[in-house]
Subunit: 439 residues, 2 copies
């Protein structure tokens, strides 16, 4: 099952790849037997293909640029500095260059930017044997797949699709028109890749045709291109949930300062907004001076709001991304999360109340008014968790409604938002319950 | 491009599906024209297929169970209550039932549980025309794909693969043995589905053969099954990062109490460990009583540690999941994150220092020792952010090393861990800098 020459080389190189410097990558790549170098190059990520091409001497680039199908070539060129685009485009043959220029006009995240313009077209009046013969000839061409043939009229409008398998099954004399499927899933060229990945997941398709506003077919997106899209989108969402800008590249390949910049932005926003807690706390300075015991539970109170808020927000962000929950469901979510928050808050509040009561019983930690302190903390936790859950769940809807990406309602952002309101809830509760005793 | 009868029905039902009760789903499903009912049923998620089958009267179940390929039938049965497995297995024909029973023996997350045992086998000595004729006959069978034929010896060992496209291109008299590819990517039947999705993403493959320890072929996994796996795995990771157990089902389909249970578990763990902050704070009760101003910055300090920690942990969890970073890279990550943490901490600490200095200048908010308070807060933020970043980045490695899932080093968990140490860092710094003045 291993190739005849240099059997493990490709895998060795693949294993070492992430830690190799650009120079060593070139060296290792040149040591590959010609039979596996193509495959290896094609299996690299766009990011690595672009890096390798840049590291290769100009004379060796042409061969590898021409190995790439037009959609991948366009992706690679998009990754290179703008001033080098011309030089790399010049390495392609005329047909490919024209195709790549068309693809470069699409945004990278759009269906048009992912599609391969080389697909098999057949006319509806062909019969099954003619179509099979035509597919057989196409097998040698650089089309993405010969297993689906798209039926177009003379103006390139998409009429239907016929699979090689259907042609194999059909009676030889039948016309393509009579066996083609017409209930097609198609996407518009400007559709975002995230929606595209849902279509693949929902319908279990292997290729989706891309059409323009007039229904003219422009290319196909195949499912193997989508697996990496799905992973990229998930990574972006996870990074945003974790409170940073999406990195767009593997950890070790992002430069130190670029990485720090992407992380510092959000942290600064959060830090500055968190300064409001100092302002809020200073309003309650007198209460704290009179009852230092109150300050002991500040971290507990605000973190329980933060944790429940980030939990709710993460849940809703992902459900929105997977379209399990839609914008119009906000009212159902609100009712459900209000109830969830109250139940969760009651559970945590009870635990908090019992902890203080128990410690007081065992160690006399909290002075003569410990009972009232315990009630204050318990009720505050109930309020803060309910409020944290509710606002964490609603923020993604609000952001989506305003046209922002809900994933940017990152968990730490919700936590910060909830911290300030948590302090207000806590000290207001304390004033109500401890007035005349501790306060 | 719409089917002839009832053109929008399938899409209408699909749109309404998430909000329909089981009864209404059955009713809607029965209203579909027979031509689209099959497609619709096959396009449902496993969870919904199982639900629909349960809601249908027993007499109508057989037809739909038999529409499912064996891998999907096995998935559906796995979702049903154990006591109903026998009844649903009995609906299958003998061959399918045997295949499904084999698949049920695999864990749901293993390659063996995802594979379809129906693939096209050819013998190496066939010539191209014989192989094409054979594939053409297979087109009518219930095999997953006819576009890849797997070359097996008489003991079912996998020797190579030949694509329909290669057969089309090859000279008719050649033997399959001479045109097959032998440098195959294969997976073992017990391999976890997460690794499998990386193989698809890395190699851009459309199908991967599954083999046992002796190299005998058991089935194939196709890329369209993997898109949903990738999304599931990402969802699980995002939910764990957000601090809850993975839900395994869409938001609205998880019962209220099941949902609360899954969320309460983690929140309780966090709440109880966060109680350590109250213990830590009580150690510094005297300091707070003497200098109430110190308590004002407690939320700011601990949240900056929590935010930087959850950022770092999210980043590393995702990089580990995508194998961009491996366990053995921990030392490089440690050095890099230590430096990142110090830079981020210096930036935030400076902002904190300036904020206090400015407020003192404008509002005289912090008393005669405001300068020292500003230094205390600035240095504490530096320390807490460095520590938060470092421990957030290292925790996933430690968990992975101990055999746990790094995603369970969820951001809120790190935040809680960092909160307690953040308090110690803050009050220790305060003692050093304010001793003799405020303290």
């Amino acid at each position: 099952m291993a190739p005849e020459s240099d059997p493990i080389h490709e895998d060795e190189l693949r294993d070492a790849w992430p830690v190799l410097a650009p120079r060593d990558r070139v060296e290792g790549f040149r040591l590959l037997p010609p039979s596996s170098a193509d495959d290896f190059f094609l299996s690299l990520s766009t990011h690595d293909q672009a890096g390798l091409l840049q590291a290769l001497p100009p004379g060796e680039r042409r061969q590898w640029m021409r190995v790439l199908p037009p959609d991948d070539a366009a992706d690679v060129i998009q990754r290179l500095p703008t001033e080098e685009h011309g030089a790399f485009l010049a390495l392609l043959d005329d047909t490919s260059r024209r195709e790549v220029l068309v693809l470069l006009a699409y945004s990278e995240d759009a269906a048009g930017g992912l599609m391969n313009p080389r697909f098999v077209r057949v006319r509806p009046e062909l019969d099954v044997d003619e179509a099979l013969g035509y597919l057989r000839r196409q097998a040698r061409e650089q089309v993405e797949t010969i297993y689906s043939a798209y039926v177009l009229d003379s103006a390139q409008h998409l009429l239907g699709v016929v699979s090689l398998r259907q042609l194999f099954q059909a009676a030889p004399g039948k016309a393509v028109r009579d066996i083609m499927r017409t209930d097609l899933v198609t996407v518009r060229e400007e559709a975002h890749q995230e929606g595209l990945s849902h279509l693949f997941a929902e319908h279990g398709l292997s290729a989706i045709p891309v059409v323009d506003a007039q229904g003219r077919m422009k290319g196909i997106v195949t499912v193997d291109d989508i697996v990496s899209v799905v992973q990229e989108e998930a990574t972006e969402d996870i990074q945003k949930v974790g409170g940073m800008e999406a990195l767009d590249a593997p950890y070790f390949e992002v430069g130190f300062f670029a990485m720090v910049r992407k992380r510092a932005g959000w942290l600064l926003v959060l830090f500055v907004s968190e300064m409001l807690t100092a302002t809020a706390m200073s309003k309650y300075q007198d209460e704290i001076a009179r009852a230092v015991v109150l300050s002991l539970f500040v971290p507990l109170i605000i973190s329980s709001g933060g944790n429940s808020g980030s939990q709710a927000t993460t849940l809703i962000i992902r459900s929105l991304a997977l379209t399990e929950v839609r914008l119009r469901d906000w009212w159902r979510v609100l009712r459900r999360e209000l109830l969830s928050g109250m139940v969760l808050g009651a559970v945590l509040g009870t635990v908090g109340f019992m902890r203080i009561t128990l410690w007081q019983h065992l160690f006399h930690s909290y002075g003569e008014h410990a009972g009232r302190v315990a009630v204050t903390v318990g009720l505050s936790v109930l309020g803060v968790v309910t409020w944290g859950t509710l606002s964490g769940a609603m923020l993604p809807f609000i952001l989506r409604r305003l046209g922002f990406d809900p994933a940017s309602a990152s968990a730490p952002f919700v936590a910060t938002l909830v911290d300030v309101s948590g302090l207000v809830i806590y000290f207001t509760t304390a004033e109500l319950i401890l007035r005349g005793t501790l306060l």
